[in-house]
Amino acid sequence: MTIMQIFFLALALITLFAAVMVVTARRMMHAALWLILALLGVAVSFALLEASFFVVVQVVVYIGAISILIIFAIMLTRREMLDRGSQLTQNWIAAIIAGAGVFITIVAILSVWSGFSLIPADIPKSAGDIAALGKALVAPDQYMLVFEVASVLLLAALVGALYVAGERKK
C-alpha cells in the first residue's frame, strides 16, 4: 500500500460519504453543502489524475457558480413544511435496487476487460499543455465545431433561463 493508494482510499471514502449524504439529507441546505464537499473531492481526484487545469475549472465552475446557483434556488423555493417528513419517494427501494444493479453491471463488464488493472505510466511533460488544448479548441480541423456548438448552447441556456425565471411585467 503506497502513500498514493492510502490517500486515494481516504479521498474516495470522503467523497462517497458526502455523495450519500447529498441524496439522503433531510434539510435541503445540508444537502447542498454536502454536494460542495463531494465536488471538492472530485476536484482532488482530478488532481490525482494529473489533469491540473480541470481541478481549477471544477472549483471555479461547479463550486464557485453552480453550487451557489443551487443554494439560491433552494432559498427561493423554500416552504416551511418542506423539510419535514421523509425526503424519499414511495418506491425508494426500487431505486436502491436499480442503483445497485447498474453498479454491479458496470463493474462486471469492466472487470473482464483486459486493461482493467493498468498501472499508470509516466506521462510525457507535454501532456498537460494548456496551449495545445486551446489551439485544439479553435483549430478548424480539430474541435472548432464542438467549441462553437457549446457556445451556442450556453447562449441558448442564458436567454432561456432569463426568460423562464424572469418576473412577468404586468
Binding site: L33, V59, V60, A131
Partner: protein, 402 residues
C-alpha cells in the same frame, strides 16, 4: 552561486534541506516537510503582517479625514493593533440560537483561508515562490470562489434573516464583478502566452500597465469591488443592513473576517503589481533577488495607498448603481478590449517590442476615449430627463384688489 546577502531565503532553504538529509530523512519526506514548513511560515508571516497593515490604514484614513488616527498606545499608535487583538481574543463567543454549527464556524476559517490560498502562487523574488502552477491566473479566481462560499455559509449559518439578506446581496455583487475580472485577466495571459504568474512577471519587459491600461483599470475596479471596499462596501455597510453577513459573529470569529478583509485588500494590491506593474522586476533584480522583493513591496504599497485613498474619499454606491456599472459598462468594455487586443497583438506580433508597446498603448487610449465619450452622451441623456417638476414660486405676490 549567489552570495548569502543577495538571496537569503534560498540559502536558508538549502541549509535546512542539507540538515534534514543529514539527519537521515528520505528525500521525498524531506521535500514534504520543507513544503509544510514553507506553507506554515508563509501563512503565519501574512497574518503577522496584517497587524502592520491595520495600523497603516487607520493612520492614513485618519489623516484623510483630518484627524490624527490612533496615537495613544505606543509612539504614533503602533501598538494599537496589539490592543485590538487583545480585546478581540478575550471576547466571548456568542452563538445565536438555532445556528447551524458547522457552517457558522467554518465561515471565518474559509474566509481567511481563501485569501491565504492566493499567497501560494505569488512570486516574491525570481527564485522564491510557493508553487509555479501552470494555471496560476485561474487559480486566483478559484480562491476567490472560496471566499464567496464563506459569505454564503456565514449568512445562512447565523439563523438571522438580515444576515441572510446581506449575504445574498454580497454574493450577487461578488459573482457579478467576477465576470469582467476574469475577462480582463485574459490580456496579461495573452501577452505572456502563459497562465503561470512567474511567466507573466518574466514577460514584462515593458510593464503591462503601459501596454494594457484599460485591462489594468478594469482589473483594479473589479478587485476593489471583490474585496468589498468603498465605494463598493454595501456588503458591510455599517450604517445600512445592520453590518451585513457577519452580525452574529463576536470575538475572534469576527476578528477573522476583519483580518481577511485587510489581508485581501493587500493581496489584491500585490496581485495588481504582479500582473500589471512588473512584480519584482527592476534594475538588478535578477542578479540580486532580494532587490526584487524590495521593488515588489514598494509597488504594492503604492497600489495599497491608492486603494485606501479611494476608501477615504468616495461615497458608497447603491446596489443598482453597482450592478449598472458592472453589466452596462465594465463587461462590454472588457469584451471589447479583449477582442481589440487580440487582433492588434496578432497584427503587430513581428515588430520590435518598443513599437509594439506604443501601438498597444495608443489603441487602448482610443478605446478609453470612445468609452468616455459614450458615457458622456448617455449621462447627458439622463440629465435631460425631467425627474422633478418645474420650479415654481412658493408664494405669489398679489396686490390688493381695491
Amino acid at each position: 552561486m549567489t552570495p548569502v546577502w543577495a538571496d537569503p531565503i534560498n540559502y536558508i532553504i538549502r541549509l535546512l534541506r542539507e540538515l534534514l538529509i543529514g539527519w537521515g530523512l528520505p528525500p521525498d519526506l524531506t521535500h514534504f516537510v520543507m513544503s509544510l514548513l514553507g506553507g506554515f511560515l508563509l501563512a503565519t508571516g501574512a497574518m503577522m503582517f496584517v497587524i502592520f497593515l491595520i495600523w497603516y490604514e487607520r493612520k492614513l484614513i485618519g489623516r484623510i479625514q483630518d484627524r490624527l488616527g490612533p496615537n495613544r498606545i505606543g509612539p504614533w499608535g503602533i501598538f494599537q493593533p496589539f490592543a485590538d487583538m487583545l480585546k478581540i481574543f478575550i471576547k466571548e463567543f456568542i452563538t445565536p440560537a438555532g445556528a447551524d454549527w458547522l457552517p457558522y464556524n467554518l465561515a471565518p476559517v474559509l474566509s481567511v483561508g481563501s485569501v491565504l490560498l492566493i499567497w501560494a502562487v505569488i512570486p516574491f523574488m525570481v527564485s522564491v515562490y510557493g508553487v509555479d502552477l501552470n494555471v496560476g491566473v485561474l487559480y486566483l479566481i478559484a480562491a476567490g470562489g472560496f471566499g464567496v462560499l464563506s459569505i454564503l455559509l456565514a449568512g445562512w449559518g447565523s439563523n438571522n434573516k438580515y444576515a441572510l439578506l446581506g449575504g445574498f446581496r454580497a454574493i450577487a455583487m461578488l459573482l457579478s464583478y467576477e465576470v469582467p475580472m476574469v475577462i480582463c485577466l485574459l490580456i496579461p495571459v495573452m501577452y505572456a502566452q502563459s497562465m503561470s504568474m512567474n511567466t507573466i512577471v518574466k514577460a514584462q519587459d515593458v510593464w503591462f500597465i503601459v501596454t494594457a491600461p484599460v485591462a489594468a483599470l478594469i482589473f483594479f475596479i473589479t478587485s476593489v469591488a471583490e474585496i468589498g471596499r468603498a465605494p463598493f462596501d454595501l456588503v458591510e455597510a455599517e450604517s445600512e443592513l445592520v453590518a451585513g453577513y457577519n452580525i452574529e459573529y463576536s470575538g475572534l470569529k469576527f476578528g477573522m473576517f476583519f483580518v481577511a478583509e485587510f489581508l485581501h485588500a493587500f493581496t489584491v494590491s500585490l496581485l495588481f503589481s504582479i500582473l500589471f506593474l512588473g512584480g519584482w522586476r527592476g534594475p538588478g533584480a535578477e542578479q540580486i533577488p532580494i532587490l526584487g522583493f524590495i521593488y515588489l513591496v514598494i509597488k504594492t504599497f503604492v497600489v495599497y495607498l491608492v486603494v485606501i485613498l479611494l476608501r477615504g474619499s468616495l461615497p458608497r454606491f447603491r446596489i443598482d448603481q453597482m450592478m449598472d456599472i458592472n453589466w452596462k459598462i465594465l463587461t462590454p468594455l472588457a469584451l471589447v478590449i479583449v477582442m481589440v487586443t487580440a487582433l492588434v497583438d496578432k497584427a503587430v506580433s513581428g515588430l520590435d517590442s518598443l513599437i509594439k508597446a506604443v501601438i498597444l498603448l495608443v489603441i487602448n487610449l482610443i478605446v478609453l476615449y470612445i468609452t468616455s465619450y459614450l458615457l458622456k452622451q448617455s449621462s447627458k441623456r439622463l440629465m435631460a430627463r425631467k425627474v422633478v417638476s418645474e420650479k415654481r414660486p412658493v408664494a405669489v405676490y398679489r396686490p390688493e384688489q381695491s
